[in-house]
């Protein structure tokens, strides 16, 4: 007999989405237990001391995509979250010691590109506003089952019509396009195009020429964020402060959070065995690594869809077609993180005086062709010699992250495939660190001398440490065929799975990856407590 009483909800994992779901469900009065295999909460949204006295974001540097409504609803500021004011913009060191500053008033672009940038900013802002309900979700049911569902669709249709035929036509055309075509149509400056493409491609298994990459542009410029070239928003103490606040909020609402507690399996019961009629499996709790069982009325999994269904549930409970579909879910790792401890601020050639330019994001990848060539390497399982870098210096605004006068640099490195064909990440790890330092050094001559310590998190580390299939931070590639109504799989947009009472709440569900908290929030809104002895009213495809 289990020593645990039955919970309403067992949440697997304590990543930011799982914590959002746990906090919201606990707030709604459910009894919630959160089971995290790691020693601390947060998953990939954490702050890590990677060298004595130096702390840096583990994966995601900024939290600017986190939905502001959740901060209020979960009283995260009361629970310790402090967001630092936005500073800087986007800076790009270019060849021959030049520097391109974007996002500020005087950006050194030709007048034509400046005008095009203003027009593009306003177009993307209009799209973001209209698409906000789709981008936040949950999505309205495809097969309307009553007035409420119909109304959702009508509201959406009216919003879209509100754009006007011209913008609407343009938007329909825009969304499935390769971001390269979108940018080539509008801009001339190569570096500007690259700077605009990079946010669209962040974390993606897509190059600038891949159709659908324009969607990423919109994904990273939702209505609640002010612009594509806006700086990152840091949490005081690093992104770990966000997940700590989420955990505190969840606990305050009564959720029971257990770290160092690994779930081995989801307990499933064959419904046909217990009731007459149509057979259907349902989740009844979880089995821990140590053999203990935790009974629960529902299970909400923050693990990725493949691990959840194939490892934790197991194929024997699933229809062969589902096993095939889940097995075919594409989840590519494309990101490595390099953290550097620096004994001084970097000095980029051609950069303006002062350090405002270091406060935002610094991007290395001078043209769309540079980005495409880096992606080419990943396609064939090679580590790019010239990867795409997204650099932040969180210690500039937050002195608590490094000893006085010293700094931490966080480098998001793309495209690094998790499956390398000719070498392994064990042997490629150190050379990746050197590659990154060398690449930055091309624009900041004495940079290598300032590096006190290097820490490399490879896609393989991401896979093993967070249990993410393929090392994919987004749990499933954000490609057109795995978005919206098809995320993670066609028809699975309601956060349900083929196992009754088992829900998904990670970024493998709509609206996808990045630190938004929205998959967690949406999943929480869909969780329904089963009524004893009856089938859940809504089915997967509803």
């Amino acid at each position: 007999m289990s020593p645990f009483t039955q919970y309403d909800v067992a949440v697997i994992g304590a990543g930011h989405n799982a914590l959002v779901a746990a906090a919201l469900l606990a707030r709604a009065g459910r009894s919630v237990i959160v089971l995290e295999q790691g020693a601390t909460v947060g998953g990939s949204v954490a702050t890590e001391e990677f060298a004595p006295g130096f702390r840096a974001p583990l994966c995601f540097a900024g939290v600017e995509l986190f939905h502001p409504k959740l901060i209020g609803d979960l009283e995260l500021e009361k629970h310790g979250l402090r967001l630092l004011p936005d500073r800087g913009g986007t800076g790009m060191p270019l060849a021959n010691g030049r520097w391109l500053g974007l996002g500020g008033p005087d950006n050194g672009l030709p007048a034509k590109d400046r005008a095009a940038l203003a027009a593009f900013a306003s177009f993307t802002a209009r799209m973001a506003r209209v698409l906000a309900p789709l981008q936040t979700g949950p999505l309205p049911a495809l097969r309307a089952k009553g007035f409420g569902d119909m109304l959702e669709f009508l509201k959406l249709a009216v919003r879209l019509r509100g754009l006007g035929a011209r913008d609407l036509g343009e938007m329909l055309r825009f969304l499935p396009m390769p971001v390269q075509d979108v940018l080539d149509e509008r801009f001339e400056n190569d570096a500007l195009k690259a700077a605009l493409a990079m946010p669209a491609l962040t974390g993606a298994w897509l190059g600038p020429r891949s159709a659908g990459s324009a969607w990423g542009l919109l994904h990273h410029r939702p209505a609640w964020r002010n612009g594509l070239l806006a700086p990152p928003r840091f949490a005081a103490g690093g992104p770990g402060a966000l997940t700590a606040a989420l955990a505190a909020s969840a606990s305050a609402h009564g959720a029971d959070i257990r770290t160092g507690t690994r779930v081995r399996a989801i307990l499933v019961e064959d419904r046909a065995a217990t009731a007459a009629g149509e057979g259907s499996a349902r989740a009844i709790g979880v089995l821990l690594e140590d053999g203990r069982e935790i009974p629960s009325r529902t299970v909400v999994s923050g693990a990725d869809p493949r691990s959840t269904l194939l490892d934790l549930v197991g194929p024997r409970w699933l229809d062969p077609e589902v096993v095939r579909a889940v097995g075919n879910l594409r989840a590519h790792g494309s990101v490595a993180i390099v953290k550097l401890a620096l004994d001084r601020k970097p000095r980029f050639e051609g950069a303006p005086e002062g350090d405002a330019h270091l406060a935002g994001r610094i991007r290395i990848g001078a043209s769309l062709e540079y980005l495409e060539r880096a992606f080419d390497c990943a396609k064939y399982g090679r580590v790019p010699e010239r990867p795409v870098l997204e650099i932040t210096l969180p210690s500039l605004a937050d002195g608590s992250l490094a000893p006085a006068g010293r700094h931490v640099m966080h480098v998001w490195v793309q495209y690094t495939a998790s499956d390398l064909r000719e070498t392994s990440w064990e042997s490629a790890r150190e050379s990746l660190g050197r590659t990154v330092i060398g690449l930055i050094g091309e624009h900041a001559p004495d940079f290598a001398d300032s590096v006190l310590h290097t820490d490399v998190l490879t896609p393989l580390d991401i896979e093993q440490r967070f249990g993410l299939s393929g090392g994919c931070l987004y749990h499933a590639d954000m490609t057109l065929d795995q978005l919206l109504y098809m995320r993670p799989l066609p028809g699975w947009y309601r956060y349900r799975t083929p196992i009754d009472n088992l829900y998904l709440c990670g970024p493998g569900t709509h609206p996808g990856g990045g630190v938004t908290g929205l998959p967690g929030r949406n999943a929480a809104s869909r969780v329904q407590m089963p009524v004893a002895g009856t089938r859940p009213a809504a089915r997967l495809m509803a």
């Binding site: 011209r166 329909l172 891949s210 159709a211 659908g212 065929d481 109504y485 098809m486």
Partner: protein
């Protein structure tokens, strides 16, 4: 001033011819104007080398709508289709993969490579069939606008919804197919690299997409929608080459009373009082017409045939960014003998007649990475160093294509990007031809010794000679952003244009490329409907 016609059609490509036939059949006086000395556009046969008949550009039929074949009685006008019996994929290791028309034989052959693939292949075929059936209602109809609230449009949307609902189980599959890459799609089904390559290749034909580019799976489906004599997704050669298709449609059009003038180049569309009123020929001759229908691609139509002052700046901008990048080339070869493929030698040594293996299509697409690398070259402005090829030895099925004992080989090649980085096609044409032959020689070593004549058709030639902007064989990329009601550009239905009484009828309109004829038929329907509106003025 000469005679006034109800309709003048610019360009006698297959869609223009279909449009002319349907309009003439409805009783309109129709004049077709073709710049070249022969009709057909890219669907032509020319005797380039004495005794050898070249399907210079387009070389196989599958997509031609069965309704057009029967409505215009094309068999009665001389069209005879000879089905291709299979596809041979020679492999670099000396093996091959053969897919026959006969399912049982294909299964036996696939078993040699992979048992699971052999089993999956039949299910795959069924899946593609169902998906193509689900798309079919979209092909025979003008696409409904997604932005218009006009009652007629709403009715059409509703009908389409109904048609799609009948295929509901396949709708999600269809949505995936519309958005995935052909490589991802094929890899979900099969494990044999050669089979993956051969199937994924149909997703890149005519496009500047790689097999790993999202959207290429739709192009694959587009190529699966064909039907020959009720045989689904069969491909065929017209007896006498592709020109025979055009000749048959032209004969049908003439039979309905349409007139066709060749060597009559249109310089400009005449526009009076805000609507088109006829055309001006290159020699200055003016021809008056109730409507003008352009079979030229959207770029050519609106950038050279219509003077800019008749178009607003927004529209011109959207035409200027219409994606029409050329990516393919052709080699047409007169051969002294049959090429001997290394992979078939063991069979030949056993005394097996290998001619049936060569009588279908021959696909040089050994695996997906091969195709993707070929695309990588093109991305950066080079022709593929190891190109993808789709080859047909047309004389094996149709001996009239070459003198007795000799053979005609047509080689479709990708990628040949229209814009070469730092070079011109005029300078590179023969070097490109050599690259193709060198690659082919890896599979058929005797090829270099048996070539009597070689014609290299580059995207630049397709533009200059046939009039295809940038050499794009589909009159514009089959990308999601320019399909259905977004084709060619958002804002109007595709056949009608911002210039009243000026229409498009080419592949730049829905449903797009391939020798399908649907665009021509749908444009004719649109013209006939609109004419009632003007009261035949």
């Amino acid at each position: 001033m000469a005679q006034r016609y109800d309709a003048v059609i610019i360009g006698a490509g297959h869609n223009g011819l279909v449009c002319a036939a349907y309009l003439a059949r409805a009783g309109l006086s129709v004049l077709m104007l073709e710049r070249r000395h022969l009709v057909g556009g890219a669907a032509i046969t020319e005797e380039i080398h004495p005794g050898f008949r070249y399907s210079v550009c387009s070389y196989v039929v599958s997509l031609l709508r069965p309704s057009i074949i029967s409505n215009l009685d094309l068999p009665g006008h001389g069209l005879e289709l000879l089905p291709l019996d299979g596809t041979l994929s020679p492999l670099p290791d000396g093996d091959y993969l053969m897919r026959w028309h006969d399912a049982g034989e294909t299964r036996r052959e696939l078993m040699r490579h992979s048992k699971t693939d052999a089993e999956a292949y039949e299910r795959f075929g069924q899946k593609m069939y169902h998906l193509a059936m689900a798309v079919r209602p979209l092909l025979g109809e003008p696409p409904p606008s997604l932005t218009s609230l006009a009652p007629r449009n709403l009715r059409r949307l509703w009908r389409l919804r109904g048609a799609l609902a009948r295929h509901e189980p396949h709708l999600y599959d269809l949505a995936r197919m519309m958005t995935m890459s052909s490589a991802d799609y094929v890899e979900e089904w099969f494990e044999t690299p050669a089979l993956q390559g051969a199937l994924a290749a149909s997703g890149i034909i005519g496009t500047l997409l790689g097999p790993r580019s999202p959207g290429s799976a739709y192009v694959m489906l587009h190529h699966y929608m064909g039907e020959i004599d009720g045989q689904f997704r069969a491909w065929a050669l017209p007896r006498g080459g592709m020109g025979a298709v055009s000749e048959a449609i032209a004969a049908a059009a003439r039979g309905f009373g349409a007139q066709i003038r060749t060597e009559a180049e249109v310089a400009q569309v005449l526009i009076r009082d805000g609507h088109s009123a006829g055309v001006v020929l290159a020699g200055g001759e003016e021809i008056e017409a109730g409507v003008v229908i352009s079979n030229a691609d959207p770029r050519r139509t609106f950038e050279t045939l219509v003077a800019p002052e008749h178009l607003d700046a927004d529209f011109r901008a959207s035409i200027a960014r219409y994606n029409i990048r050329g990516s393919s080339a052709k080699l047409n070869l007169s051969l002294d003998a049959l090429p001997s493929f290394t992979c078939l030698e063991p069979l030949a040594r056993q005394g097996v007649d290998v001619r049936p293996y060569l009588a279908g299509a021959i696909s040089i697409s050994p695996d997906i990475d091969y195709l993707e690398r070929a695309y990588d070259d093109a991305k950066y402005g080079q022709y593929s160093r190891e190109p993808y090829m789709d080859i047909v030895l047309s004389s094996l099925l149709d001996p009239s294509m070459a003198p007795p004992g000799k053979h005609m080989m047509t080689v479709f090649v990708q990628y040949a990007p229209y814009k070469l980085h730092g070079a011109s096609w005029e300078d590179e044409r023969e070097a490109f031809g050599d690259t193709v032959i060198d690659t082919l020689a890896e599979y058929a070593p005797n090829i270099k010794d048996i070539i009597l004549h070689r014609q290299v058709v580059t995207p630049w030639d397709l533009e200059r000679t046939i009039g295809l902007t940038q050499g794009n064989i589909f009159h514009g990329e089959l990308g999601l952003q320019q399909l259905f009601s977004l084709r060619p550009v958002p804002g109007f239905d595709g056949y009608s244009t911002p210039v009243e009484r000026l229409y498009l009828c080419g592949s730049g309109t829905h449903p797009g490329g391939g020798v399908m004829g649907a665009s021509g038929e749908l444009a004719a329907r649109r013209v006939l409907r609109d004419r009632r509106k003007w009261g035949h003025s």
